[in-house]
Assembly symmetry: C2
Homo-oligomer: 402 residues x 2
């Protein structure tokens, strides 16, 4: 791989890069003199559950690790130590040192599926931010003006709409920026929504007399499975990196062909050249898009689990979908008390959350009992054994007893 | 003195009081149970030169000390420890611990001319603010919103005019407010320009679960000798508490009758009743205003020096002014090199700052040589001895030599 090709891969999928020349210098310097450089990315200490969206940044860092980067995996535990004296945010409680370390362990178990452990330092910003002390923090706040901080897009908007901005929110970008000063980061990674905070690192490195300012690589926010909204837990359009193999496989198979190529660009380890070739083959009719999607699903399951589980997940998926057969394992339930209303049974077996949702599923023609579609939302199940099914993937075995 | 009279004296000259009921409770409680209460006022660690303007607040505290107050004389040294990493403020350098203590000594030598030393605690806010640490400071900033901070009048104005406000300026009111939390102050004193910051103490005491909020006593900004602008060193319309007896006396004698009563209200220890009586006597023609002004001058010189020096200052002032005689002591100078230009001589003897100012004084008919008014701005002094005089109070003896 020559430097041009490496840089093209660095830029692949990026939303924006600031100071590309610096990145080129760092990589050249590594190949010419063997000197490493530091790539920082910050993570929330309170929510150590990563999904594919996070893995976009991690994947880019993993690529950089092959070309000289040591990753500074920063856990922002400093703010985790801060309670909320205003009492406005009842849900925010101080994290203990123990909780922070526990969350860090959870991160480790996830990120080293993507990052090279030997080229990664897990660091906690409480270390240097506590050392700053009260005077250091006040000094830090003397570096920026209120007006300049209000230029951050979300602040501008909230200020205009007269929705409250706590003064401590003005401190967080400064603290994040100071992390880059303390760590002497050469590159900082983040989402496009972080641009203001990422630039703060450059500005503060300048103010605190660092020799050079960090470059910035911004990755786009990954679209969720719906292909429209950004991937997030709260929208339930995500794939968690700890999800089981079958679910990851099935979820990837459910996405559109368009989104599939977006995921190839941002998540796959296939090179840009290989991806171009795939697109051509599809165009020429020599490759079916379904195969391409299966390959993506296999690659991702393998990354987060293993090749073996990836193959099993595929086999299982094919079996259920191609032959409309039952899956190999179905959870079993028993209900006693004589005959039971189907809608209630679907809830008891965990296939639906409420009887009203179950009734809607019946009306929508999604419910089968023993492979027979049921349209009668009042149906009663008498004593006996049943296979209940909603849609293509939800199954339960139910025994109705006296 | 009954409680009503005491409260009337507390309110005397005040610009505004917040929570008068609390003050009444504190004083009553002192007289009924002998319990002291705490009255806080903050002072700048960098400029330990007090003038009469500062003594307005100190005088009010001295009165409260007679009725149960312990004074918390707070030297705001915390911010003195902070350099300016932005480099914008070249004049702000970090104060060393030594400088802070030296300035504190200077304060002590001045304030105990007014305050009762035995009922005063000199405290430094670096103690508890440093203890807050980085997390405590960030926590503190979570208590207020940007919009609310911008309600402070000067911030509003500067924000509108797009003149820069550093984020650390948002921290200072919070730090001042937190001082009241740490000190459990019952009353805070300050100038009217401090209202926002003083209220911050009440708000933070509430947030940090103090049992009660501090009352606030705001004193007006004392008018300077011109009777128009507030007294300040930079406007040169001030009387420093360390000025010599003769200067203080003469400066008080120079003020208008109207300003004299303002000074009586804010600076004199005479009770409201006594002052009413004086005003009546002047009205009835039984008392000349000049006597009243002399008494004010005598009272203030005695406060900052002694009764003896006050009497001397008066005698000297009377001698110079009534008989147009020379003062008893005149500084002596020698200039060699033969004849000298009068304007230059006035500068050399320290009576003027520049020859152009000296020429203006000659043209303005203010300069005498050996009691003869001089109008020739080119006048040369030949070899010999001279008494040089500008206006009524500036004298020098000059020997012009070969």
């Amino acid at each position: 791989m020559d430097i041009k090709e490496i840089l093209a891969e660095v830029k692949r999928g990026c939303a924006e890069i600031i100071d590309e020349a610096r990145i080129e210098d760092l990589i050249k310097n590594y190949y010419e003199k063997g000197e490493n450089f530091y790539v920082k990315a910050g993570f929330d200490p309170t929510a150590p559950d990563l999904h594919l969206g996070h893995s976009v940044v991690l994947g880019k860092m993993a690529f950089l690790q092959k070309h000289g980067a040591r990753v500074q995996f920063l856990i922002g535990d400093f703010t985790g130590q801060i309670g909320d004296p205003s009492g406005k945010n009842a849900t925010r409680k101080k994290l203990s040192q123990e909780e922070v370390l526990k969350n860090a362990k959870t991160y480790e178990s996830q990120v080293f599926k993507i990052l090279d452990k030997d080229k990664t330092d897990i660091v906690f910003n409480s270390k240097w931010l506590n050392e700053l002390g009260a005077t250091g923090i006040v000094e830090l706040t003397s570096t920026f003006s209120v007006a300049r901080m209000l230029e951050r897009e979300d602040f501008t908007k909230r200020f205009r709409e007269q929705s409250s901005i706590s003064i401590c929110e003005f401190l967080y970008p400064l603290l994040q920026g100071y992390d880059s000063v303390a760590l002497k980061s050469d590159i900082e990674m983040g989402g496009t929504d972080q641009k203001f905070n990422l630039l703060m690192g450059r500005a503060l490195q300048r103010i605190y007399d660092a020799k050079k300012e960090q470059a910035i690589i911004m990755m786009p926010l990954l679209e969720g499975l719906d292909g429209v909204n950004k991937m997030s837990k709260s929208l339930n359009n995500y794939i968690g990196v700890t999800e089981n193999a079958k679910d990851i496989y099935a979820k990837i198979l459910s996405i559109s062909d368009e989104l599939m190529f977006r995921y190839y660009e941002l998540l796959s380890k296939k090179s840009l050249k290989e991806i171009e070739k795939i697109k051509e083959d599809i165009k020429n009719g020599t490759l079916h898009p379904k195969i391409v999607k299966e390959n993506l699903a296999l690659e991702l399951v393998e990354r987060f689990h293993s090749k073996e589980l990836a193959n099993e997940a595929k086999a299982e998926f094919d079996r259920v979908h191609s032959a409309n057969a039952l899956p190999s394992e179905i959870a079993e339930f028993e209900l006693s008390g004589g005959s039971v209303w189907l809608a209630k049974a679907l809830v008891e077996c965990g296939l639906e959350n409420s009887t009203s949702a179950a009734r809607r599923a019946i009306v929508a023609n999604s419910v089968s009992v023993n492979s027979q579609k049921i349209k009668d939302e009042q149906m009663q199940l008498e004593l006996g054994e049943y296979i209940l099914q909603i849609g293509k993937r939800k199954f339960a075995k139910l025994k109705v007893k006296k």
